[in-house]
Amino acid sequence: MTLSEEVAEESAGDDAGRPPPPSRARAVTGRFLSSRQGRAGALVLTLVFLFAFAGPLVSPWSHTDKDFAAFLAPPSAAHWFGTLQTGADVFAVTLRGLQRSLVVGLLAAVVCTALAALAGAFAGYFLGWTDRVITWVTDLLLVLPAFLILAVMSPLFGAGQWPLFVLMLALFLWMVTAKMARGMTISLREREFVRAARYLGVPPVRIVLSHVLPNLSSLLIVDATLNVSAAILTETSLSYFGFGIQPPDVSLGTLIADGSRTAVYAPWTFWFAAGLLVVTVLAVNLIGDALRDAFDPTAREPR
């Protein structure tokens, strides 16, 4: 995402040897790590990731295996999370779904927010032609029926094509944020610190990157965290209609959709997937809050 890139770029600029100067990158990292929320969120998210990617290594089943001796069986020693109607191991499919959803959700959110931030900030800062073109594209995408287009394109998202799917998801989520970012940039543009930078002779692109974007960061981070859930949910509904992630691949979305039908009498088919979704979204939100506070020096001191 742009912000972390910018931070990374700044810290990369410091040559080694001397004690590093007290720049923003270090201050933000320090503040983030000293916040309990941030640490908890980061920890949980890491655990979820570990679980999703390391879990399959210890499971005797893979997500394509079917146990024809146990249909819709409750959790047991053989099937830790039970099995589905098809005999698939819930533990294995849930992990597989988690992997997909994590990657799709996080990537789509990051790509989408980055796109929105750049488009909005550049349109708002430069105005004129840049603005007209970007606004035109934004408006165009806003009126296009995203769902329909994704549905029509769904044959393209066959096996192994999920990066394209992520891109398309992001492409249909960024417009509203971009409009907000543009509006805020227009008001930031007249703020004195931006004018001060301009009169110092700081090149415009640098002003956008180092003054405008960080001051939009509260909006952007909140937006990114919201987008994680939005992306996961959009993917869920697409998958529900059979357009998103295609079988045999699974995602939390398809699992929840399937599981909701059997949830009443076989709760394990539903609750593990739903629970993991909730935990993931929660962890992302905690990280988002902590990051926002870390970027905003006027926020109350981290507890």
Partner: protein, 669 residues
């Protein structure tokens, strides 16, 4: 006679922090009490407590008696009955105090009807009477206007009219003129005096401006850190201050009179935050007279004279600020080299109307042809009230591009003919300090990053070393580079902004209202720093300000702007002691002096009317519609010249010129 308002041992706690700590005063009818203090000393909160307008969560103890009736502990409904009838308030910001969607007359009538049993018609008539009383021309028509159609001064008058509506016993004015221009301030203060005569009310005047208090109040109460630290008659307090804080404050105010050339003395440090008070005397960390006993306990108010009390254990040793030593006088001859030359600069904006079909309905001449120059090592003060075009002029110069008309020559280079690379080069030599350091420093950057930015942009020196040097240069601790701007006080922040401007070793510094966002006690320190840096680094300043007292202290030459034109320009000493243009005279005479006796004796030149619309300035002389000379001195034939011909700059002395056909030098301060 019971006082109209008596406050005893008032304590207010906001969010756990004690904001007002034992305030007591009494005002009789017909009396004016000035409540003076810097921002955060609790003066506005105490007024809100009297009005019962504190935010929820505030705890109030003590007693507030209005005509003998206790207000503390009253329920909201009973308070509402008192509010507006027995006690009313005039706020600092009249725009937010008036409801934008109702007509002004209706709002005043509403205030009348809330507390009096009168018919709608009677109330409307009363509203028009009130508007007439506060000097709004054509009140019957104006009563039908909406607040946004009023100028700031007229809104404040309307608010005063509203405050008078029910013949209150007490009127509380919370910084009533702070947001206004000086000439308007003088008008509004006159109106307040009228209001007081009419209603016979007691007035509590809350302000940070010692000049306003000197001319307006009978008694003064100085607050510091939530407590009264000195109170007494205006003359006693101003001439025989017995508390080091009061004395310091008086010494820190920049003045427009002869004493103004002397450097105002800053008070070191900043006021303590409520909830974080030093153990003994709250002023101890900043006090020049501090001894060990001061830290033992908070000094009570000592009786130091008849009706004069001060909270200082060494009150008998406090001397009023010394009569200022003769200040430095600017170089009599001007330097040979010109750093900035502006010639016939014009900037106009199209005035467009309509949302769907935008059409041009006129042109606003924000800057209508101004010329001046700044020599090396010189400070030019560009002064004017809001709408005079001074800020536009400054922006035009800073853009370093071809102006719409005229020429701007910076360091010998015409900005119309600059290539991008040359412009970048000149940017190094021309730097700017803005008014509000909180706004001009990126809140998301550490001080180190802020100061390193110009260095990185221009690849100038090693940021790591230079940042420390710069901080030391402006009197800050280099170890504080890792902090954010919000961790500093206002004065310190402005020092950071100055350090940033100095990072590239510029030759011309443009100062846009550099101290007007700061408290008086801190202002003096920043002004002193600017003065010292100028001599040390051989800088030239273009100082844009509305406060003539500040300009007087720091500028060698001054240019007074009115409606996009320069009315008068010349050596600061000459212009201040004997202004020639009628506008300059009115402007200078409107500025209150922190000197009660002289203030009472002074004859004000009051301007009438409102500033004309810059889209359609008057023909001939732009100042003609408000010019006192034009109105009352000139004959009919002489007036013809003013109305037909725009006056050119006319030299009147060694280094003083004015754009007036009948300019005559006159001492007004």
């Amino acid at each position: 006679m019971t006082p109209a308002l008596e406050v005893t041992d008032l304590r207010v706690t906001l969010g756990g922090a004690p904001v007002v700590r034992g305030l007591g005063y009494a005002v009789r009818k017909g009396e004016v009490l000035g409540l003076v203090g810097e921002s955060g000393c609790g003066k506005s909160v105490s007024a809100a407590a009297v009005m019962g307008l504190l935010p929820p969560g505030a705890r109030v103890t003590g007693s507030i008696r209005l005509g003998g009736r206790e207000l503390v502990g009253l329920r909201e409904r009973e308070l509402a009955a008192v509010r507006g009838s027995a006690v009313s308030m005039v706020f600092q910001d009249p725009l937010s105090a008036l409801t934008p969607v109702y007509r002004v007359g209706d709002q005043i009538a509403e205030a009348v009807r809330t507390h009096q049993k009168v018919t709608k018609e009677q109330a409307a008539v009363r509203a028009v009477d009130l508007l007439d009383l506060v000097g709004i021309p054509d009140p019957a028509r104006r009563a039908l206007a909406f607040p946004h159609e009023f100028s700031g001064g007229m809104r404040q008058r309307a608010l005063i009219a509203m405050a008078m509506a029910n013949d209150p016993d007490v009127i509380i004015c919370d910084e009533p003129t702070t947001a206004l221009d000086v000439t308007v301030q003088a008008q509004v203060l006159e109106v307040l005096k009228t209001a007081q005569r009419q209603t016979g009310a007691a007035i509590v005047m809350i302000t940070h401006d010692l000049g306003v208090v000197a001319g307006f109040a009978d008694r003064v109460l100085v607050m510091y850190a939530g407590r009264p630290v000195e109170s007494g008659d205006v003359d006693d307090v101003f001439y025989h201050a017995r508390m080091p804080y009061t004395a310091g404050l008086l010494g820190a105010v920049p003045r427009i009179d002869a004493a103004g050339r002397a450097a105002p003395a800053p008070i070191d440090g900043a006021p303590p935050a409520p909830g974080d008070l030093p153990p003994g005397c709250p002023f101890a960390p900043r006090c020049p007279l501090r001894v060990e006993a001061c830290d033992e306990r908070e000094p009570p108010l000592f009786e130091v004279g008849p009706g004069h009390r001060a909270a200082c254990i060494r009150w008998d040793e406090v001397s009023p600020p010394l009569p200022a030593p003769p200040g430095r006088t600017g170089p009599g001859v001007r330097g040979p080299r010109t750093v900035l030359a502006v010639d016939g600069l014009v900037r106009h904006y199209p005035l467009v109307k309509g949302a769907v079909f935008r059409r041009r309905v006129g042109t606003v001449h924000a800057v209508a042809g101004i010329s001046f120059d700044i020599r090396e090592g010189e400070t030019l003060g560009l002064v004017g009230e809001s709408g005079s075009g001074k800020t536009t002029a400054l922006t035009e110069i800073l853009e370093l591009t071809r102006p719409q008309q005229g020429r701007v020559v910076v360091l010998g280079r015409d900005t119309a003919a600059l290539t991008a690379a040359q412009r970048m080069e000149i940017r190094r030599d021309v730097q700017v300090v803005f008014q509000d350091p909180l706004a001009s420093l990126d809140p998301r950057m550490t001080v180190h990053d802020i100061l390193a930015e110009p260095l990185r942009t221009h690849r100038h020196g090693d940021p790591r070393r230079r940042v420390g040097e710069l901080l030391a240069l402006v009197g800050l601790d280099p170890a504080h580079a890792a902090r954010y701007p919000k961790d500093f006080s206002g004065g310190q922040r402005q020092r950071i902004a100055i350090a940033r401007a100095l990072a590239l070793q510029p030759r011309l510094l443009v100062l846009d209202e550099p101290v007007s966002a700061l408290d008086v006690s801190v202002q003096a320190g920043v002004l002193g720093l600017l003065g010292a840096l100028k001599t040390e680094l051989g800088l030239s300043y273009l100082l844009v300000a509305h406060d003539l007292a500040v300009v007087r202290h720091i500028a060698d030459r001054v240019a007074v702007m009115y409606l996009g034109r320069i009315a008068e320009i010349g050596r600061a000493d000459a212009v201040y002691t004997a202004p020639a243009h009628p506008y300059t005279q009115a402007l200078l005479s409107a500025i209150p002096l922190p000197d009660p006796a002289r203030e009472r004796a002074r004859e004000r030149i009051l301007l009438t009317g409102e500033r004309p619309d810059p889209a359609s300035p008057p023909s001939g002389c732009r100042f003609r519609t408000r010019c006192p000379t034009f109105r009352s001195v000139l004959t009919e034939t002489e007036r013809g010249l003013c109305a037909d011909t725009e006056p050119e700059m006319r030299p009147l002395g060694e280094d003083q010129s004015a754009a007036c056909h009948y300019a005559e030098r006159l001492a007004v301060v």
